[in-house]
């Protein structure tokens, strides 16, 4: 491939955060007028690389060449000036600005010290016409649909003479007609010689719109292919193969009766979800980020509203409208967002652990603090929380120990159903395997465990049964036998996550 002209070339990019190597010697070669897909599982390193390109992160090693010259950006604004714009998945346009103001933000036309709104509006009108965009330049951003707001971002990028536009999951909230319109725009941009980096989990789209694809896995670059001649199977097999860096301590234990059952759950981000969990069973939920796994669990736990659907606990129908009721019924949830939903960081380990368990420690009106201390000591010893004292504030602990504190508080509540959303995220290897061991222990005590994990080996290694999510719906179920006898490989699971039947 040497000798070909690339508009953007990244070579040997590495980036580490603390001890985690997010990117290892990664490359990317982008030609002008090309739509280039980036493909990879959650956490494969796609967004980290993009953030290196637009200057949000500084790579530890490696070089980026843009238009034949060495390139580095001090931040997104600098990147835009140099000709690289990124359209983020979650747009946050200034809602009170007009389209014209939004497009010419920081490049306003002025007459003397005053804004020249007339000129700006005129210029905007011309550009909008070029893109066949039928809204007045004075329309406010908050009155636009999501698709329109996204289009304004693209127009803004083009009007800044962007030569590379990065699109992060641009179709995730568009309907099919809007997607079609976006694709027409992308094809027009191609003709103008603009290169597009297209990040998406939707295979069909990648096959429809992209010319080439680069696959990432675990922070490494697997390879690039031209879209012509490549098959879905090949791409999926390139994505999997994340190293199994620990052997999972899954112990088979006696699986009892159905403990918790849901039917037809529908809410924001998921629809018509049905499943059941038995006592002593670990049910794994796998799927891409945003596929509706966490959303379902948040709704079950009462953090978000349910639109419809029914739930049964131990055969009795239950209704949960807030976490207070969920906890009272014996459902506990370890949230994926530990900082916001897990801990009060400026309070002590003791207070954090006993927070959901206070009613049990009351002696009349007062708390039985001696008993509280005793029980917290016991549970934190059982879960091997490493701290000088249970009076230490939670912020002083490492990620793994914080997670054990969160686990401790729910274990003390002795729940019937334990929901674990990414229980080992941001946790070191030692603590990770300890958490896995604990999960088996709890299951053996007759708890029903639901575990979400974005790490395929983890969720496959720990689950008795695996439920695969795809775009808000369940897309198949895999049993432990199928995993153990090799019928259900990582490829099979990932294919399901990507929507294959």
């Amino acid at each position: 491939m040497a000798g070909e002209h690339y508009i953007l070339e990244c070579k040997g990019i590495s980036k580490a955060f603390g001890g985690t190597q997010a990117l290892k010697n990664v490359e990317l070669h982008l030609k002008a007028g090309e739509v280039h897909a980036l493909l990879g599982e959650n956490g494969a390193g796609k967004s980290t690389l993009m953030k290196c390109i637009i200057g949000l992160y500084k790579p530890d090693e490696g070089s980026i060449t843009f238009d034949g010259k060495p390139y580095s950006a001090r931040g997104p604004a600098d990147a835009i000036n140099k000709g690289i714009s990124m359209i983020h998945q979650e747009l946050n346009p200034e809602p009170h600005l007009s389209i014209a103001e939004s497009i010419f933000l920081n490049r306003e036309d002025t007459r003397g010290p005053f804004l020249n709104k007339k000129l700006t509006n005129q210029k905007t009108e011309e550009i909008l016409k070029e893109f066949d965009f039928r809204e007045a330049p004075t329309t406010l951003m908050e009155d636009l649909t999501l698709a329109q707001a996204q289009m304004v971002e693209i127009i803004r990028a083009v009007s800044c003479n962007a030569r590379v536009i990065i699109m992060d999951e641009p179709t995730s909230s568009l309907d099919s007609e809007e997607t079609e319109h976006l694709f027409r725009t992308i094809r027009d941009l191609k003709k103008k010689g603009v290169a597009i980096i297209y990040i998406s989990h939707r295979m069909e789209e990648i096959f429809e719109i992209c010319d080439a694809v680069s696959v990432f896995r675990d922070g490494t670059y697997v390879g690039s292919r031209s879209m012509e001649g490549v098959t879905r199977e090949e791409l999926i097999s390139m994505m999997v193969g994340r190293k199994v860096d620990s052997i999972f301590p899954k112990v088979d234990c006696k699986i009892g009766d159905v403990l918790f059952k849901v039917e037809g759950l529908t809410g924001k981000g998921f629809s018509d979800i049905s499943f059941e969990v038995h006592a002593g069973e670990i049910l794994g939920l796998s799927g891409l980020v945003g596929s509706g796994r966490s959303e379902t669990m948040r709704a079950i736990f009462g953090l978000d509203p349910l639109e419809s659907g029914r739930m049964w606990l131990e055969g009795k129908e239950i209704h949960i409208k807030d976490p207070y009721e969920a906890v009272k019924l014996g459902i506990a949830m370890v949230n994926e967002d530990r900082k916001n939903y897990g801990l009060c960081l400026n309070r002590s380990i003791r207070e954090n652990i006993s927070l959901p368990n206070l009613p049990k420690k009351q002696k009349g009106f007062l708390l039985n603090q001696r008993r509280e201390k005793q029980e917290v000591e016991e549970v934190s010893k059982q879960l091997t929380v490493k701290a000088a004292s249970i009076e230490d504030e939670a912020y002083s602990l490492s990620g793994g120990n914080q997670q054990k504190v969160v686990l401790s508080k729910w274990i003390m509540a002795n729940p019937k159903v334990l929901i674990l959303d990414e229980p080992t995220r941001g946790v070191d290897v030692g603590a990770k395997s300890e958490i896995h061991t604990l999960m088996c222990k709890f299951a053996a005590q007759g708890m029903a465990i639901i575990m979400i994990s974005s790490e395929l080996p983890e969720v496959m290694g720990m689950s008795d049964r695996l439920l695969v999510y795809h775009e808000g719906k369940t897309n198949g179920e895999i049993s432990r036998e199928e995993i153990l006898n090799g019928e259900a490989t990582q490829e099979v699971v990932l294919a399901k996550e990507f929507g294959e039947k």
Binding site: D322, Y324, V327, K328, C344, N346, P356, Q362, L366, K409
Partner: protein
């Protein structure tokens, strides 16, 4: 890491930063007292100690309510108006009955009800505590004027005067006794009950509190109800002392209460406070007033000093919080 910790000077088995965080403000109080003892012979007398405590009793009771509100992540600016309303209600109550208890209970119920309204507006509709209580402050002040038709009336009830001026056994003023009782109740509530734990959790991280099954609405609302109850008690002492039902009193009392909390280590970020700390905050403000009076420094400078002290305390709090992150 460990070596560095060992190198640091240890004070009473704690390294210096932990020690200063826990007892720093107490040391400030001790230094102030030591200075005053040297500078003014009057300061050292038992009579002056009693006078300081009597002076801080109203503000102290208010601060012991405010500490709950701020710790749960709120603020209450309406307590000055509530003091006036209490005064007016007591006056009205004495028109119908001589019962002191009726007057007190009526005040407590009404102030608790307004506290509930404050809290419910804030917790239910997620409105800013600052804006809500800034508005209800006007409403409550107005209602006070409406009830008494704007007139100040001297109270004729002699027994009621004893609350503010009387002394138990001839040496311990009732107002100080009331402050101590409220402090003990506040201590038990904040440190020994579920309610107190929930206050800390809600102020520390509201989302985490919700996700732990805490009824955040009730926790926030009840913090304002407790504030209302404390305000009524403070109002009773104040009314007894001025011996009149007066609708224009209480202006600026919220500032002193907030100042006492903040000086005593209550974090405006929420989730951090102790009752002993608040008591020290109250004492420091008392010593500033009393000390500067004794040194014949004008009251204008007292106000300036208090303001500077609050800024200093907030900066200290931010400095500690920064370390955490």
């Amino acid at each position: 890491m460990e070596k560095a910790a060992k190198k640091q000077k240890m004070i009473f088995g704690m390294n210096r930063s932990v020690f200063m965080k826990k007892y720093g403000i107490f040391i400030v109080l001790l230094i102030m007292i030591a200075f005053m003892c040297v500078a003014s012979p009057t300061f050292r007398t038992w009579g002056n100690v009693v006078s300081i405590l009597q002076q801080v009793s109203v503000n102290g009771v208010l601060a012991l309510g405010m500490v709950f509100v701020i710790t749960a992540g709120g603020i209450d600016l309406s307590i000055g108006s509530m003091l006036a309303l209490t005064s007016v209600i007591i006056g009205k109550s004495f028109e119908f009955s001589d019962s002191i208890w009726l007057a007190i209970i009526l005040s407590v119920v009404v102030c608790a009800a307004f506290g509930f309204i404050n809290g419910a507006l804030i917790a239910k509709f997620n409105m800013f505590p600052f804006v809500v209580t800034l508005s209800t402050q006007l409403v409550i002040r107005g209602i006070g004027y409406i009830i008494c038709d704007g007139e100040t009336k001297t109270l004729a009830n002699k027994a009621f005067r004893q609350i503010g001026l009387g002394k138990l056994g001839g040496f311990l003023p009732y107002s100080i006794l009331i402050l101590l009782v409220v402090a003990v109740v506040a201590y038990i509530l904040l440190h020994w009950t579920k309610f107190g734990r929930h206050i800390y959790a809600v102020g520390g991280n509201m989302n985490a509190a919700i996700a732990s099954g805490v009824k955040v609405f009730w926790t926030r609302t009840l913090s304002f109800v407790w504030m209302g109850i404390c305000t009524a008690i403070g109002g009773v002492i104040l009314t007894s002392r001025i011996n009149a039902a007066q609708p224009n009193i209480g202006v600026g009392y919220e500032t002193d209460a907030i100042a006492a909390c903040v000086i005593g280590g209550t974090s405006f970020a929420g989730g951090v406070a102790t009752i002993p700390g608040t008591m020290i905050g109250i004492a420091i403000i008392g010593v500033i007033y009393n000390g500067m009076n004794l040194l014949r420094i004008s009251s204008y400078w007292q106000t300036v000093t208090k303001g500077l002290l609050v800024i200093g305390a907030v900066m200290l709090d931010m400095f500690i919080n920064k370390k955490r992150n």
